[in-house]
Amino acid sequence: MNSFLNTQKVQGLGLKHKNKEILLNQLEKKYNYLIEIEKQKDEFLSIVSHELKTPVTTIKAFTQLLQKRFEHKGDYETANYLAKMDAHTDKLVDLVQNLLDVSRIQAGKFKFYEDVFDFDKLIKETIENLQIIAGKHKIVKKGSVKTLVLADKYRIEQVLTNLITNAIKYSPNASKVIIHISSDEDKIEVGIQDFGIGIPKKEQEKIFGRFYQVRKNRKTGFSGLGLGLYISNQIIKRHKGKFWLSSKYKQGSTFYFTLPITLHSRLVKNSFNIE
């Protein structure tokens, strides 16, 4: 009897082992399939982004060409319409760029190209570019840092643009956005303050998540993919800075980020991947 039971037990174990093997096999196949799909998705996003940028380049160049010609003729009203058209084309480019960036972050291929640049100058140029599309919002700068930083200028500009355009977008009844800039020995600190709808406490942790706005925009009525904060957070983290917010619901928000000044001491490299 005992030997019969033992045989049954062994057979049962064998069966369990076999089932486990089949399950593991199925899981492995599913895993590989998902990896492949993810890879294809990233490649597809990269191609789509690249293909979209080509016609956008032509549209922007012709728009700017027309703008210059109207300015030359003294028709500043038409030139201004074209400047707005150009600025809104940039918004479209940003959208495409964000999709591409997210696909790169997901694939672990988000690259940075460091350079030494004048931080105050970057702030000034970014404000000038954004003031064109800011409408009634006046973008006010408070403070300066008078220092050079070693960072990816394009990416830091991307963070600034994202935060300032968000500040404008989420404060439709306000008339200004304030950019606070300060520094100490170790870091530069930037705060972008709006006087808009604010963010409830329970939402504050979630807003740095990918696609967060997509899930929320039906309720809030604001459009967007919700990628900007996720990407900005990634950019600042990779520069070894901090990113946070202070917000009161219906009173406004201030988004802060820091950039370490210790970056100065590092050698300028043409290209490197911060992973």
Binding site: S46, S49, H50, K53, T54, P55, V56, T57, T58, K60, A61, F62, Q64, L65, K68, T89, V93, L100, R104, K111, Y113, N270, S271
Partner: protein, 126 residues
């Protein structure tokens, strides 16, 4: 006579608008939509500067740039890579090109980068 610029891109829209913009600045622009023509053209009159797209159908701008930079006759011609490729910086460095203009660009950036590289090199190739 204005300096000669070759604009190499497989997108006819970009070729057209870049040609107009640079001609308004007094340059003589030759638009080339087929990379294969470059190798034939370098035996004739050379340009003062080349704007070269990186990703073209059936052609690799990076390889063309390397070829030109390794050729005695053309190695001193400033080459500015123009691209929407997300690896454009890397490719520009690897190709040994002199500059990069990212698509989409502002026309002032286009004009400035062309003038800067022409001034820097004061190309004697002609």
């Amino acid at each position: 006579m204005g300096k000669i610029i070759w604009v190499v891109d497989d997108d006819l829209g970009i070729l057209e608008v870049v040609k107009i913009i640079l001609e308004e600045q007094g340059f003589k622009v030759i638009a080339i939509d087929d990379c294969n023509l470059i190798k034939k053209r370098i035996s004739k009159k050379l340009p003062n500067l080349i704007l070269l797209d990186i990703l073209m159908k059936g052609n690799d701008g990076q390889e063309i740039a390397k070829y030109l930079k390794n050729n005695k006759r053309t190695k001193d011609i400033p080459i500015i890579m123009v691209s929407a490729d997300h690896k454009a910086e890397e490719k520009t460095i690897k190709a040994g090109a002199d500059g990069l203009l990212k698509k989409p660009f502002n026309i002032n950036d286009l004009i400035n980068i062309v003038k800067k590289h022409l001034k820097d090199k004061k190309s004697s190739v002609n």
